[in-house]
């Protein structure tokens, strides 16, 4: 065999290994869960409540992330300001922050004994052990996924298009809305999907900061954990439901953006 052939075979083997290893746990969840059991698990009020709470909190978190993150990412992508590299690194920091550390950090920052705890209390804002606290935890862990993708997507918009729009008399805000955002859309959607997926799976920070209470802070991952010791098949079925929801989300994004959104963002 020639050198390049060997190399190609090695690449192929690596990919095959990655695919098998990464899909095995997901396949196992579905092998062990009959479709009937999956539907049955949705009949359980606790599961339905957890699912409703997960969808509500992640949707709200995503809305906050997109509304605040889009202009922030645009600024980072288009303006050269002092300390830009530092800012870029700082907003990506939560990507490598272990969820447990994120939870502790949130308590230390926004908890009743946290550095901003007194301020929040005076303002009448209660986050810890509240649904709002879940949303805060989700925004913290998921926002960097969107910011990163959005910034890359904005950076990839050809400057000529922006210049043309400005030459034709459009202001910067209107250029952003009418030219930049539509051009960067696949990347933005891909980022939003990644952030949503991350938020749906959030466990550690939520448990530490928001606790676990049915209907208030017990999202699907927390409900899965609680069931693990009591009813393994039920935990498995609920996991399958979560996988289905996340998969549907990913699929919808792929279909909406035509092809791999992450590729389009580069």
């Amino acid at each position: 065999m020639t050198g390049p052939r060997v190399f190609s075979v090695l690449l192929g083997l690596a990919l095959a290994g990655a695919v098998v290893f990464l899909t095995l746990p997901i396949v196992a969840i579905f092998i062990d869960t009959s479709p009937g059991r999956l539907v049955e698990s949705l009949g359980d009020p606790t599961a339905r409540e957890a699912l409703r709470l997960s969808l509500e909190t992640t949707a709200l978190a995503l809305a906050i992330i997109v509304l605040a993150g889009t202009p922030a990412a645009y600024l980072m992508a288009t303006r050269d300001f002092r300390g830009r590299a530092v800012v870029q690194t700082l907003v990506e920091l939560p990507l490598v922050l272990p969820p447990a550390a994120a939870g502790i950090g949130l308590l230390a920052a926004l908890g009743p004994r946290g550095i901003l705890g007194g301020t929040l209390e005076r303002a009448g804002v209660e986050l810890v052990l509240q649904t709002a606290g879940v949303v805060v935890a989700l925004v913290l862990v998921a926002a960097p996924f969107y910011l990163r993708q959005a910034e890359a997507a904005f950076s990839a918009v050809p400057t000529s298009a922006i210049a043309a729009s400005r030459t034709l008399g459009a202001g910067e805000a209107s250029t952003l809305l009418r030219v930049v955002v539509p051009t960067a859309r696949p990347g933005l959607i891909a980022g939003a999907a990644l952030a949503w997926g991350r938020a749906l799976g959030e466990f550690g920070a939520t448990l530490m900061f928001a606790g676990s209470f049915r209907g208030v802070t017990q999202t699907v991952p927390l409900a899965i954990y609680e069931r693990f010791s009591v009813d393994f098949p039920a935990a498995l079925a609920l996991s399958a439901v979560l996988v289905c929801v996340s998969f549907a989300l990913l699929l919808a994004v792929k279909l909406l953006t035509g092809r791999g959104g992450a590729v389009a963002a580069r």
């Binding site: 530490m208 209470f213 017990q218 954990y225 009591v230």
Partner: protein, 256 residues
Amino acid sequence: MRPARVGQLLAAAATAMLVAAVLAGCGRRDAPGALAVSAAASLRDPLTRYGYAFAGGPVRFSFAGSDQLAQQVRQGAKPDVFASANTSLPGRLYAEGLVERPTVFAGNRLVLAVPARSEVRSLADAARPGVKVAIGSASVPVGSYTREVLARLPQPGAERVMANVRSEEPDVKGIVGKLTQGAVDAGFVYVTDVTATKGTLRALELRRALQPSVSYAAAVVRGTKHLARARKFVAGLVAGEGQRELRAAGFEPPPR
């Protein structure tokens, strides 16, 4: 991607694998020897100290809610020893043929824990509206003991306490964390958990009539490769270094 980048990536991957291999090698030196012990979260401090002193070689621990650990044994993630904050979980595993006959090795008391300078001074205070309470989830021993206590309370006291519950934690250390962070005003934990906070929390004792019988049981997991040492470890919990550490941490002798 430029070839240079690919080369760099491959080099980085190779380095990472090398580091992982070296680390795994280091771990392997004592891994076959280390006794794996899954133990209730409330046993963390005394058992960690017992582990250091244990004459039968190195011990590695996994601390979590007893119910989670029991389920792991059931799913095939088997330690050599399982130590639970109740007798029913190891009892059930014994009935299923997964562990040897469990041995009761310690007792404990359930208390209502509050921050050191709290306005909550009694169980009745915990039933007042607006007081935030954390308890264990129904499946973890501390949560089921708590429900026993509440079941013995005259109504509407129990109902009011339950209405104040803001979080059902997967293990007792989660409740302690919520208390020390000021997230809740009161929580049902073991007296030893309060002692371990060295004054951060205060224990409000429960009336004797309300007190559940808290007993800890340990069992050697069937199929262990370290049978002799596992048995020695359990024996040391009943009488020996383990028992001494438990008593020093405030645990009680096993209830009869």
